[in-house]
Symmetry: C2
Subunit: 206 residues, 2 copies
């Protein structure tokens, strides 16, 4: 399978959501035009995105909703559960621990870490907050696929270094700071302001 761009992966996630909603509504086929509207793109782009992964759909008939949903889940690696640790039991961390959408997709937050003794030992959505000092030792015993970093900016690089040292291969960073990871570790930054900037762009260019 050839590597595709980050924007393509993002659109595949959006197509998948639309396909799943369509399944709930009993639809069995769907056109590239319908998928395009949901993915914020064109029919030509939908066909190009999907053709990267083999042949789908029949000319004039559209795509089979269940088949395409299964195939996209497979492409996105969603056929299995992922063990996730979260570091930083602050407000964003708390919101994410309670976010149902993660569990529904197979992303299971199995441990939460913080350095604040007042938080350590408390229970967040059923998961006990542990002392961040235990992070590396715990990960050696219980390896994780993905870590979510929601610490303040000044602690984030040290936390990421510990995660990398403990062999965590993928990191989602909410701290507002650029971070260094070695080649082979996947790092994604989330910035809530980006979404608002897309709206300010739309308002400024009406």
């Amino acid at each position: 399978m050839r590597k595709v761009s980050e924007s393509t992966v993002r659109r595949l996630s959006l197509y998948l959501r639309f396909l799943e909603q369509s399944l709930v509504h009993g639809l069995t086929t769907i056109s590239s035009g319908d998928l395009a509207r949901r993915g914020g793109t064109t029919s030509a782009q939908v066909r190009k995105d999907l053709s990267s992964f083999g042949s789908f759909g029949k000319r004039g008939l559209g795509y089979s909703v269940p088949q395409l949903a299964t195939r996209i889940r497979d492409i996105l690696g969603l056929g299995r559960a992922y063990r996730v640790v979260l570091v930083g039991a602050g407000k964003i961390g708390g919101a994410l621990v309670h976010y149902e959408g993660f569990r529904q997709r197979g992303f299971q937050i199995g441990a939460i870490y913080d350095r604040d003794p007042k938080k350590v030992g408390s229970r967040w959505n059923g998961v006990v907050v542990r002392d961040v000092k235990r992070l590396e030792a715990d990960l050696t015993k219980e390896p994780s696929d993905i870590a979510i970093v929601t610490t303040p900016a000044e602690s984030a690089q040290a936390v990421v270094d510990a995660l990398v040292a403990a062999g965590v291969p993928a990191i989602l960073n909410f701290a507002p700071v650029p971070l260094d990871v070695p080649a082979g570790v996947f790092l994604k930054h989330v910035n809530m302001a980006l979404e608002l900037e897309a709206l300010s762009y739309a308002l400024a260019n009406r």
Copy 2:
């Protein structure tokens, strides 16, 4: 100015962050290659993205960091403040109200609404939570540019209908449900699981 795609707007936001960090480090020029690495794209794409908005940069010299930063802020409509209301004083709402990145970019959360009498009247990061029954009347007196919806799924459409009726032109939705808005209203969905899916894709296709 011609309309550009959502992915281009997103990359412009990423370029802007990198330019601002470069300014802090005293850099005056930057290459399309440097911008490409930060935007997760290619030099050719960077040049294409920026050429949509006029002529930037000099062959072999790169782009002027302060000039390009100013131009992108202008393109993204970030030269002004935006009044934002937030509806849904739950965990994600609470995290967003405290998110410094919004205020830094000129997105000012001026009012928070909830229907829970226990929350109404409490103060979140200096902003008093108001009864959602007041939403339409308040917006008539204090128009807002953008609304952030962080209600449960089942309340989101009714809230969005009220926002649209009160003339709010742009909505950022965190509720896990598709929403209808009339033409001319800008609606963006945020789904935290999308970012994790990009990582599961990377892990599945190593």
